[in-house]
Symmetry: C2
Subunit: 470 residues, 2 copies
C-alpha cells in the first residue's frame, strides 16, 4: 500500500495517551532513560507534561525530575508551564537555582505569575531576588489580583504599535518583537498617558497597502474589560463575540494587559465544573487544583458535608409531617410502599425543570423576568406528563398489586398533583434565586428534591386520608 | 471631569442587552424606525441579531424583517449569520429572491451550509438553482456530513500556500486572498494530489526573513482530524492544545477544510448542555435549536417522559421491598417518618460522588481503570461523613423525637451504612457505564437516587427489624 503512512489517525487523544504512558513507564522500569527521552520528544509539550505527571503519580518524583532534566531547555520550559501547580512545586524543589532562573526567564509572563501564585513564600522570595527591581514591582502587582478576575488571566506580552506608524513600519516592528509575544494577531495602540486608543488586527495590516497608516486600520470602538472583572463575564464575552484576544484596562482606561482565547478555554472548563459541582451539592474546591484523585479525603469531606448536613436537617420537617399521619398510616400500612415512588418521581420531575432553567439562565437564554412564560410552559408540560404517569400507575396498581381501585386512585391522583407541583417549583426556584442574587446552580437536584419530598409527602397523605376516609 | 467618557464600562453584557432591547422595542412601538436603525447600527452584529430575535418574539416577524432590510447589506449578512435557524427561516421566507442570493453569496461558506441545513427543501432547491454546478456539488457534499461531525463544522475558506513560495510571495498572496478567508493566521500547504503537507502560521511568516521559503517555516508533523470525527473529540483537541484552527482531512489525507476556534466555543457549550441535561434525565433535544422557551410543550414532554417513566417503574421494586416489611412496620409506624431522610441523604451522597466522577471522566482526569483508587477514596470519605451524620442524627432523635435510644441507634446505624453504600455506588457506576460504552452522564442523580433508594429501604428495614427485634 503506497499510502500506508498517511492513513488518518482515528484513535482519540485519551487512547493515544494511555499507550504512550504505558510505553514510557515500561521503559523507565527497564531503566532505558534515553529511549524514553527519545519517545517523549516526539510528542507535544502538553502531552509530555501529562506523561511526567503520570510518572510522579505511578512511580516517583525523582524519576520524573530525571526525565524533565533530560529534555532540551526550551522544551522543558514549555512542558513545565503545562504541568499542574502541585507537580510544578515538586519540580522546582528538586532542581538547581540556575535551572529555576532559566525557566522563570523563559516562561511567558502570565504562566510565570501562575507558577509564583502557587509556590510557597520562601521559594517565591528566592526567585524574586534574581529579578530586577522594576520586574519585581510588576510581578508583585500581578500577584495581588484576586484569583478569579481578569487581572489574574492577563499577560503583558502584547505587541504595541503607534497610530502614526505606516503599515510597513508596523510589520517591521511586529517582525522584531513578535517572537516573544503571546499573540501577534491583535496589536494595541496607546496614547502618551498609556490610555488605550484602539486595536488593529494583523489580518487588517496584512491586507492593507504598505504606505497606509496604522491609524486608518485601527478600531477605536472596542470591547475592553476591567482588570477586576470576574472571569466568568470575560469568558462570556469571548463566547459571544468570538474574540481571539481582549484588552484589559484599569479604572483610568490604561491598558494593563491582554487576555487570549487559549487561556479562556480553561476558564470555560473551570466555570462549568464549578456549576456542575454546585448542582450536585458539592462546594467548590478552593483552589485551581481540582483533580478528583489529587484532592485529599478531608478536602472532599469539607466540600460535601455542609450540604448533606443542611439537607438532612430539612428532612426533619418531612419526618414531622409523616409523624402527623402516623395514626392514619397504622390503619393502612400498605400506603407506605408507594411513598418512595411518589417522592422519587417528584424529585426527578423537579430536577429536570430546574436543570433546564439553570442551564438556560447561564447561557443567557432565559431571564428571571421570563418567569410567567416558564411557569405557563411547565404547567402544560407537567399536565401532560402528570396525566400519562397517573394513568399508567392506576393501571399497574389495580392489576399487579391488587390493592383495590380506591388506593390506586389515591396514589395516581397524588402523582398528578406532585408532578405539577414539582415542575413548577423546579422551574421557578432557580429564577427566584437569581433575582435574589443567589447562584441558581444551588437550586438544582439536591435542594429541589428535598423540597419536593416535603410537598410529595404532604400531598400524598392528605389526599390518601381524604379519599380513603382514614 | 476630564475623563468622563473614558470611565470603564462595568455593566455586564446581559444588562447592556436588556437596556438596548427595551429602548429599541420602545422606538418601534412609536414607529420611529430610523431612530431604531441608528441605535441598532451602533452595536456589534451579534447584538443586532439578538435584538431582531427579540423583536420577533415580543412583537412580530414583520417588524423584525423591516428592521433587517434597513440595515446596510454587508451588516445584514453578518447579522443573519448570527441568528438562530428558526428566525433565519422566517427572514428568508419574507425577503426577495435577489436579497436571498446576495446573502448566500456573502455568507462565509460554513455559515451558508449551516443555514441550508435548516431550511425546508423547497427553499434549498430555490437557492441552489442560482449557484454554479461546481458550487452546487460542493454544497451537496457538505450537506451530507452528519450533524455532529468535524465535516459539519468546517469551512473551505482557508489560505493555501505552496511550499516553494518565498515568505514575501506568501505575504503578497495572503494580502490578496486574506479578506475572504475565515482565518489568515494559519495557512495550509498541499501537494499536487491535494494531500496536506503541512501548516505555517502567519506569525512564523511575519517574523521570518522575506527571502526565506515557506517550506522552512512549515510544520509537517501536525494534528489533523478526520472529516467524520465526532465534534466532542475535536473540541477536546482545541482545549488540550490551545489551537486557533485545525485542518480536516478525508480518509485519503486530502485537506477538505479547516475548523476555527470560534466555532469550537459553540460546540463546547452545546456538548456541556447535552451533558448537564443528560445528568438530569432529560433526553437531548434532537436539533441545534434548544432554547428552552422556543421548544414546544410536546418536544419537552418527549425528552422528559422516558426517564421519568423508566425510573418510576424502578420504584416498583422499592415498593415491593417495603411491602415485605409491612407486618413489622405496622408494629412500629414511627419508623416510616425516618424513611425520607435516609433515602434523601443516600441519594444526595450518591449524586455528589457520581457528579464528581462523571465530570472528572469527561475532563479526562479519571479513567475507568482508576476504579480501585476511586473506591478507596470514596470509602474513606463516606466513613468520615457517615460517622458524623450518624452521631448528629442519634443525638437529635434522642433529644427531639423522644423515640428512645434503640430507635435512634437503628436509624443512625442505617445512616452510616447507607452513606457508604451510596457513595460507593455513585463512584463506581459511572465508571462501569463508561467501560460498557454507555454515556456516564446517564448515571447521574436520577439513576443513582433510584438505586440508592432501593438500597436505603433494604438497609433501613433490615437493620431496624433486627436491632428492634420486630
Amino acid at each position: 500500500m503506497e499510502n500506508e503512512n498517511l492513513i488518518v489517525e482515528t484513535t482519540t487523544v485519551a487512547e493515544r495517551m494511555d499507550t504512550l504512558i504505558e510505553d514510557i513507564l515500561q521503559l523507565l522500569e527497564e531503566k532505558k532513560y534515553m529511549a524514553a527521552r527519545q519517545m517523549l520528544l516526539e510528542n507535544n509539550a502538553v502531552d509530555i507534561a501529562e506523561v511526567l505527571e503520570e510518572i510522579m503519580d505511578e512511580m516517583d518524583v525523582d524519576r520524573a525530575v530525571i526525565m524533565f532534566r533530560t529534555l532540551p531547555k526550551d522544551i522543558s520550559t514549555e512542558v513545565f508551564s503545562y504541568m499542574n501547580s502541585e507537580d510544578q512545586v515538586d519540580i522546582i524543589s528538586a532542581i538547581t537555582d540556575s535551572e529555576i532562573s532559566y525557566i522563570m526567564e523563559e516562561l511567558a509572563f502570565d504562566d510565570m505569575i501562575d507558577v509564583l501564585e502557587e509556590l510557597p513564600a520562601n521559594l517565591v522570595d528566592k526567585i524574586l531576588n534574581h529579578t530586577s527591581k522594576e520586574e519585581r514591582n510588576l510581578i508583585n502587582t500581578f500577584l495581588k489580583y484576586p484569583e478569579n478576575c481578569a487581572g489574574s488571566l492577563m499577560t503583558i506580552d502584547y505587541v504595541e504599535l503607534s497610530r502614526d506608524m505606516t503599515v510597513a513600519e508596523a510589520m517591521a516592528h511586529i517582525k522584531e518583537v513578535g517572537i516573544d509575544s503571546e499573540t501577534v494577531y491583535t496589536c494595541y495602540v496607546k496614547d502618551r498617558g498609556r490610555k488605550l486608543l484602539g486595536v488593529v488586527s494583523l489580518r487588517a495590516l496584512v491586507v492593507a497597502p504598505d504606505d497606509a497608516y496604522v491609524e486608518e486600520y485601527m478600531h477605536e470602538d472596542i470591547q475592553v474589560v476591567n482588570v477586576y472583572e470576574d472571569q466568568e463575564e470575560v469568558s462570556n464575552l469571548f463566547k459571544r463575540y468570538g474574540y481571539l484576544a481582549i484588552p484589559v484596562v484599569d479604572n483610568e482606561y490604561r491598558l494593563v494587559g491582554i487576555i487570549t482565547v487559549d487561556d479562556i478555554m480553561d476558564v470555560v472548563e473551570e466555570e462549568t465544573t464549578e456549576d456542575i459541582e454546585r448542582m450536585a451539592g458539592v462546594i467548590d474546591f478552593d483552589d485551581s487544583d481540582t483533580e478528583y484523585l489529587d484532592i485529599s479525603v478531608w478536602r472532599h469531606v469539607k466540600s460535601r458535608l455542609p450540604w448533606l448536613f443542611f439537607l438532612m436537617c430539612s428532612y426533619v420537617v418531612t419526618g414531622g409531617i409523616i409523624s402527623g399521619f402516623e395514626e392514619a398510616l397504622s390503619k393502612m400500612v400498605c400506603l407506605v410502599s408507594y411513598m418512595p415512588m411518589l417522592m422519587g418521581t417528584g424529585g426527578n420531575s423537579g430536577s429536570q425543570s430546574a436543570t433546564l432553567i439553570i442551564r438556560g439562565m447561564s447561557l443567557d437564554e432565559i431571564d428571571p423576568s421570563d418567569w410567567p412564560k416558564v411557569l405557563w410552559k411547565e404547567l402544560r408540560i407537567s399536565c401532560v406528563i402528570g396525566v400519562l404517569l397517573s394513568v399508567l400507575n392506576f393501571g399497574r396498581i389495580c392489576l399487579m398489586d391488587g390493592e383495590g381501585a380506591m388506593v390506586a386512585f389515591a396514589v395516581s391522583a397524588s402523582m398528578f398533583v406532585i408532578v405539577i407541583a414539582a415542575k413548577s417549583i423546579g422551574g421557578l426556584l432557580p429564577m427566584a434565586a437569581k433575582r435574589l442574587g443567589i447562584d441558581p446552580a444551588l437550586m438544582a437536584s439536591p435542594m429541589i428534591s428535598s423540597l419536593t419530598d416535603m410537598v410529595s409527602v404532604v400531598t400524598y397523605f392528605t389526599m390518601a386520608t381524604t379519599i380513603l376516609g382514614i
